[in-house]
């Protein structure tokens, strides 16, 4: 398994991201984590200058709302995407309460087994348990997009991997391809939902569609409105951070804003199953004696 195995994919409904401009791109398979973080930090400083508006706006919000309008103005009207969304999960603080899962399921009208953010219970070397929430990893090189026969999966220029449920035919080959078990199928009638502020679309697939695949969307429809995802804003332990690689900031439920690159570097953040070459955009901060299964692939 190497990172260069997968070719850049065609994105169905959005214009492709400009690779040269995309700050955190790690297409180079040989890039070590250390170099990656260094580079991320360097770009992040530049990004932070442009994104100071976000910092100011976000710091005042207890509810964790990020005003994105300021960023849009700061970056101007260029076609360059204003954000590159990512998430940081601080495993040192996660206590396994699963409030994130419940909030997500309530907001998206999901069945109990459709855990878009699933909290796994893990055992460390001393035999003690710790908890590991797993949303969609929003891979930069998503295997699910490649295997879908009808282009129902796509990646937006803001780095979100989404499912078009009015296109999906339900082959479930994406469930096979995802190394993170992050995809859920609607095996029966979808949970009914009241009238939503948005039409049923990939950015807000509510209600779900029977016979199609669903997964975490980072609450895509809410992001332009300056709202952070339900799981992040409801985490009582402040263990989840919603981040933007472009502006180099991340914010948690208490409204604590961190400089993303510094925060990741200072805490030795890692990604889940990095050896699979998917380049996930979810960072984990591990506590003492905590580990992620980083199996060197199957074959």
């Amino acid at each position: 398994m190497t990172g260069s195995r997968r070719q850049p994919v065609e994105i169905a409904t959005r214009p492709p991201a400009t690779d040269a401009e995309e700050p955190p791109s790690c297409e180079d398979a040989g890039l070590s984590r250390r170099h990656f973080l260094e580079r991320l930090g360097a770009i992040g400083v530049a990004g932070a200058l442009a994104g100071t508006g976000v910092l100011e706006a976000a710091s005042g919000h207890k509810a964790g709302a990020v005003t994105t309008a300021a960023t849009t103005q700061a970056t101007g009207a260029s076609s360059k995407p204003a954000h590159q969304w990512c998430m940081v999960i601080d495993l040192r603080y996660c206590n396994g309460c699963k409030v994130c899962t419940a909030a997500c399921q309530e907001a998206h009208y999901l069945h109990k087994d459709q855990t878009w953010i699933h909290v796994f219970t893990m055992t460390n070397a001393s035999g003690n348990t710790y908890h590991m929430p797993r949303p969609c990893m929003m891979c930069e090189d998503p295997p699910c997009v490649q295997v879908c026969p009808v282009k129902a999966n796509f990646r937006t220029d803001e780095g979100l991997v989404l499912v078009n449920q009015s296109r999906c035919i339900g082959t479930r080959i994406c469930m096979n391809a995802c190394p993170y078990q992050a995809r859920y199928f609607n095996w029966g009638p979808a949970k009914s939902a009241p009238r939503q502020p948005f039409p049923q679309e990939p950015e807000w697939p509510v209600p779900q569609v029977e016979g199609t695949v669903g997964k975490c969307i980072f609450c895509a429809a809410m992001l332009p409105m300056g709202k952070i995802p339900e799981c992040v804003s409801n985490c009582p332990m402040d263990a989840l951070y919603m981040g933007d690689l472009t502006t180099d900031v991340a914010v948690n439920a208490s409204g604590q804003v961190v400089k993303l690159s510094e925060f990741l570097a200072a805490n030795d953040a890692v990604k889940f199953k990095e050896s699979y070459g998917t380049h996930p955009r979810v960072y984990y901060i591990l506590g003492h004696d905590q580990d992620l299964e980083n199996d060197e692939g199957a074959g």
Binding site: M1, Q7, V9, E10, D113, Q114, H118, F120, M122, T123, N124, A125, M132, R134, P143, Q146, V147, C148, P149, V150, K151, R167, C168, I169, G170, T171, R172, I173, M175, N176, A177, C178, P179, Y180, Q181, Y184, F185, N186, W187, G188, P189, V209, E210, G211, T212, V213, Y276, D291, E293, D295, E296, G297, A298, G299
Partner: protein, 508 residues
Amino acid sequence: MTREQVDTMETGTSTTMTSRTLEKSIGTAYDGVDPVPPREDIREAAMRPVLETGKWWWTAVITLGVVVLAGIVAWVMQLRDGLGSAGYNNQAFWAIYEADLVAFIGVTYGGAVVSAVLRLTKARWRAPLTRIAEATALVTLPIGMMFIVPHLGESPRIWELVWPPYWNLSSPILWDFFAVSTYLLATVVFFYLPLIPDLKITLERLSAGPDNLKTRTYKKLYTIIGGNWTGSIPQRRVLHGALGLISIMIIPMAVSVHSVLSFAFSSSSRAGYLETIFPVLFVVGALYSGVALVIVVAAAFRKGYRLERYITEKHFVRMGFILIALGAAYLYLTFTEYLVDGYSGTIGNASWVYQTILGRYWIPFWFFVVGAGLLPLVILAFRRTRNVKGVATASVIVLLAMWVKRLVIVIPPATEPLVKSPLNVASANWGTFHFTWIPITITLAATAAIPLLLLVVFKFFPILPVADMEEMAAEAEGLEEDLSTLGVMAAAGDNTSDNRKERKHANV
């Protein structure tokens, strides 16, 4: 062909034969399998299923039809209740339909082996089996393809697969779709081409019989399908060339179908699916189960239509040897796969190999090892059981065990949890596929559809490749005079001396 064998054939049952020489020559054409009965008898036997409609035929068709209908009812119920009613869940996202898809498309390979491989290797004994093998491929392929429908969560949108703007060319499922469609076309052509000369012969035979609505309908059908076949030298040369070409083409096509089918599994990072051995394993498995199905179908129709004189015990023994050769190859490939994956000791590989061989899937796994690995070998090893019944029984067991093996291929890796602690692999939450009546009924219906469609196909087309059998027999010794008396070339009305020259070129 030794003198001894020819001599033994003279004690054959044929009495209606006018030319002793011809009988000998036809006998030799089958590589000593058995003496070939006179052509009138062959023609009678080949048309027997078409002309005879016994009570048992209706009983069989109605019974099988009811099972197929039950399958359709089950599918409608699944459409109503969702794919979950078939036993699927998020931790068992692929299971029985995917195994069925592999198994039913796999059994079509019998046609490719018997007709294409044995044609290319000039194994003349194959002749009486070819029509049965090709017809089996013809009916099983659409049945196998049908499994895409219940497999899909949103089957009404299946049209998206044929809508080019939606095509994602990096998807193995799309490759499957292209490969299987091409293979279907080739299978239809491969059934049709050798049938053309037969249609002329059967047409003649029908004309000799009573003139009623049935014969008139058949005559019309044969005239339309048979085209302008006269049996002239140029036509025969074209047909020979086309058959040779399609025999060569269908082999890579068949190989591609199952290879690509295996890519749908192995184009992932999932332990147990990401196997470089998969394409080979799938192709050999398909050949194995395909040969088994041809044996079972041949045994059944041989008994049903009293074809013992044409399809003999020696055919079954030879097919049995092909069967165990493929079985041994399959067992070897499986062993290699499990050994290497088990040896690697990575978390994913170690756990799926353990769970398959010794853990939660040990029963189906060892059922496969015994049923598809050891039993056929044992049955064919002893002279006592090396007969029609023995080979047919072994083939039924192989078919069953190979279906179970497909479940063992599909289900364990699909149910393996991908997020788990490295330290407690064994206790990780494995998913479970719950077999419900819906997919079982659909699988049974698909199984019943094979004999049902074969009964219907042989109601319309001769069960033995008449022209092929006659021609090959004569061809063996190069007895053109005898060949011309066979009537195959009579319609051409050409000068016989020219025919000889032409034919020699055509047969090179």
